[in-house]
């Protein structure tokens, strides 16, 4: 079975996609935990990071492009937070979800208006400058070819995971953000500004998304329509990991990426995209609280 020897390669590529799903899932989780809102525009943050980086890289060094991309993401996140905040107090969750859907549609439209629909190549972080373009380095491991950029993706993911864990566990703001969702009234009583926390959560989620986007753009290219699919898969990961559960979302994201890649490579590539959703449905029906979530609280 020659196919079996492809498994390491499939895992490597699945891992790259999986890391992005994981970061998107983390973004979902941050916003969900502070506001209880499912942010359908999460994938667009990734797109914005990738696009801004790609556009700026053409003219400036990455020293300008990368911070600018993350900043642009944060800014868009803050604006979106504003839209969500206006009606937050009295609005049904569905209203907020629709606002994020609207924002996602509008963001894609604006991006398309500004940058057009064509995919833009982005040079890898550590590549070999070639003739007119930068070629990525690559390594061989167990029969799999690993590109340097993929290591970057994994490294950035790891960094985000560690950063987030420290942030939520050890900083006051992190704990305050967690308090907001559990008990907004209580949070207000002890002097936490819920509004500020909501804005902060959107800014953080957007910044992370943008970071993910710019990291992955050398592998995937930057495209204005890249956000929707990544957003939905990331959402799958967040749910599989148990909504609101960070480590669950990250693990689920990576597993999802790998399973998808394996199914696509070994079984049916035609239905590769359905895999994530089939798993999702199956898991939801067997364990409605998610793959790694805690049992629903029995109040």
């Amino acid at each position: 079975m020659d196919q079996l020897s492809q498994i390491p390669q499939l895992i490597v590529t699945g891992m790259t996609a999986g890391c992005i799903y994981a970061i998107v899932a983390v973004g979902f989780t941050i916003i969900y935990n502070t506001t209880g809102v499912i942010n359908f525009a999460q994938g667009e943050f990734v797109m914005i990071g990738a696009m801004v980086a790609a556009v700026l890289m053409a003219k400036f060094s990455f020293l300008v492009a990368f911070p600018a991309a993350v900043l642009a993401g944060c800014l868009v996140g803050a604006v979106l937070a504003g839209f969500v905040l206006i009606p937050l107090k009295r609005a049904a969750v569905l209203t907020l979800i629709i606002i994020t859907i609207g924002a996602s549609i509008a963001m894609q439209g604006i991006a398309q208006f500004l940058w057009g629909e064509t995919a833009i190549p982005v040079p890898p972080f550590t590549g070999i400058p070639g003739e007119g373009f930068v070629e990525d380095r690559s390594f061989h491991l167990l029969g799999a070819v690993i590109r340097a950029q993929e290591l970057w993706v994994v490294a950035v993911t790891a960094l985000i995971v560690i950063g987030m864990t420290l942030f939520f566990r050890y900083t006051l703001i992190g704990q305050a953000m967690r308090a907001c969702e559990t008990n907004p009234a209580g949070a207000r009583l002890v002097g936490i500004s819920v509004r500020r926390m909501v804005v902060l959560s959107f800014v953080m989620a957007a910044g992370l998304g943008a970071l993910a986007g710019l990291t992955v753009s050398p592998v995937f290219y930057a495209r204005v329509n890249m956000g929707t699919a990544l957003g939905l898969k990331g959402f799958c990961a967040a749910v599989l990991g148990g909504l609101g559960n960070f480590s669950g979302g990250i693990i689920a994201g990576i597993v999802l990426g790998i399973v998808e890649s394996l199914t696509g490579g070994l079984l049916w590539s035609d239905y590769k995209d359905a895999v994530a959703f089939v798993i999702l449905l199956a898991i939801l029906l067997i364990r409605p609280e998610g793959l790694l979530g805690r049992k629903a609280d029995q109040k």
Partner: protein
């Protein structure tokens, strides 16, 4: 939300809408030469937004350019040309409504477009019933087969590209092929045609895979193809999918020659695929290798002229899709020139067109053939040193 913020919000929203409306009412700058006769109105429906904008945008740009050119030259027989543009965003439902709008306008004499096979098929029946000439820029052979009197198309059918590919493969002794396609309309159509064409021939399709337009990695599919060890890999899709395929293939160290479809006949593919683009062979309209084709080729002058004009207007090279729109628009223009604004006459005139030298090829329409092209409209191209060269 306090009443004040709400007021501010409403005021802001209203002013944006008002600004849009006002700007719409503002007079457009008049053209250079303004012929005085009543304008000929032509409808144009392209996918200017959405996933297929890379196809639709150059089409629209081409038509806009031609409209300007013709009017600057004094119009057709003294009549200015006015094009009504619609965007279908690649959605059949939107195309139907755009078409309906155009049909409702009594002045419209013909419709150019749409970009995609799906949207063209969606409005073909409607145009036929309303006796409105439709010149589609989409590829699917089903648009003109069976022939509906009022429906034409200017893009080559995929089957012509496949004939060229098969010829090249035969010449290079390729017996087994791993096929991979984008699962969008373009890619699935190619797959269907490929399978139909090679069925029962000595060229065997040993692996059949697909990917999604928004997919970002095709290693899994290619790994599966590698397992079957074909003589060559053929990828059917539009950017950026094929570029990713080329890159993944290179990284998997697969040595097989890589064939592609005419969907990659633009510079973007080379930019995206970088060194992986090297050696890729694909059928393409002659537009991209215009300067390399022999001077005896009847199309050469037209191709160079279009390339220069487009480059001047938009500071970028044209592509095949823009070429389809050029052909469609010019066919209508010529017919208008000949018979004036009469839909039935235009239809008949287009159908009579012989030896029309276009961008896509040399068209010879007949009541049985509403595409009018042969496989000679394609030529095989190889990417060498980041440049297009004629493949042997």
């Amino acid at each position: 939300m306090s009443p004040r913020t709400r007021t501010i919000f409403v005021v802001a929203a209203v002013s944006v809408v008002a600004a849009l409306l006002v700007s719409g009412c503002a007079k457009k700058p008049a053209g250079d030469a303004v012929p005085t006769k009543a304008p000929f109105v032509i409808g144009a429906i392209f996918s200017v937004t959405g996933d297929n904008a890379p196809l639709g945008v150059p089409e629209k740009e081409t038509v806009t350019m031609l409209e300007k050119q013709i009017n600057a030259d004094g119009g057709i027989d003294g009549h200015p040309v006015k094009v009504e543009y619609y965007d279908d965003a690649g959605k059949p439902e939107q195309a139907v409504q755009a078409c309906q709008e155009l049909l409702a306008n009594k002045d419209v004499v013909a419709i150019v477009g749409t970009t995609l096979s799906g949207t063209s098929l969606a409005i073909a029946q409607m145009c036929q019933q309303a006796k409105m000439p439709l010149l589609s820029c989409a590829a699917s052979v089903k648009i003109v087969k069976p022939v509906q009197p009022y429906v034409f198309k200017t893009a080559q059918s995929d089957s012509l590209a496949i004939e060229q590919l098969v010829a090249h493969m035969r010449a290079n002794n390729v017996k087994t092929v791993g096929f991979i396609n984008d699962s969008n309309a373009y890619g699935s159509s190619g797959r269907e045609q490929w399978l139909a064409h090679t069925k029962g021939t000595e060229i065997k399709t040993v692996a059949l895979e697909s990917f999604n337009t928004s997919d970002t990695d095709m290693t899994s599919q290619l790994t599966s193809i590698r397992g079957k060890n074909p003589d060559a890999v053929l990828c059917w899709g539009t950017n950026p999918g094929p570029a990713i395929v080329a890159q993944n293939l290179a990284r998997l160290a697969m040595k097989q020659p890589l064939y592609m479809s005419h969907g990659i006949a633009n510079k973007q593919f080379i930019q995206l695929a970088r060194s992986a683009a090297e050696g890729v062979v694909f059928p393409a309209g002659k537009l991209i290798v215009a300067s390399a084709i022999p001077d005896t080729d009847p199309q050469k002058a037209t191709l160079l002229e279009y390339t220069a004009a487009f480059q001047k207007e938009y500071q970028k090279p044209p592509n095949t899709f823009g070429g389809h729109a050029w052909d469609a628009f010019m066919l209508v223009r010529n017919a208008l020139d000949e018979v004036g604004p009469d839909k039935d006459a235009i239809r008949a005139e287009v159908e009579k067109t012989k030896d029309f030298v276009g961008i896509t090829g040399v068209f010879n329409f007949s009541p049985e053939d509403h595409n009018g092209l042969t496989k000679d409209s394609f030529t095989m191209v190889r990417i060498k040193d980041g440049k297009w060269t004629l493949a042997d």
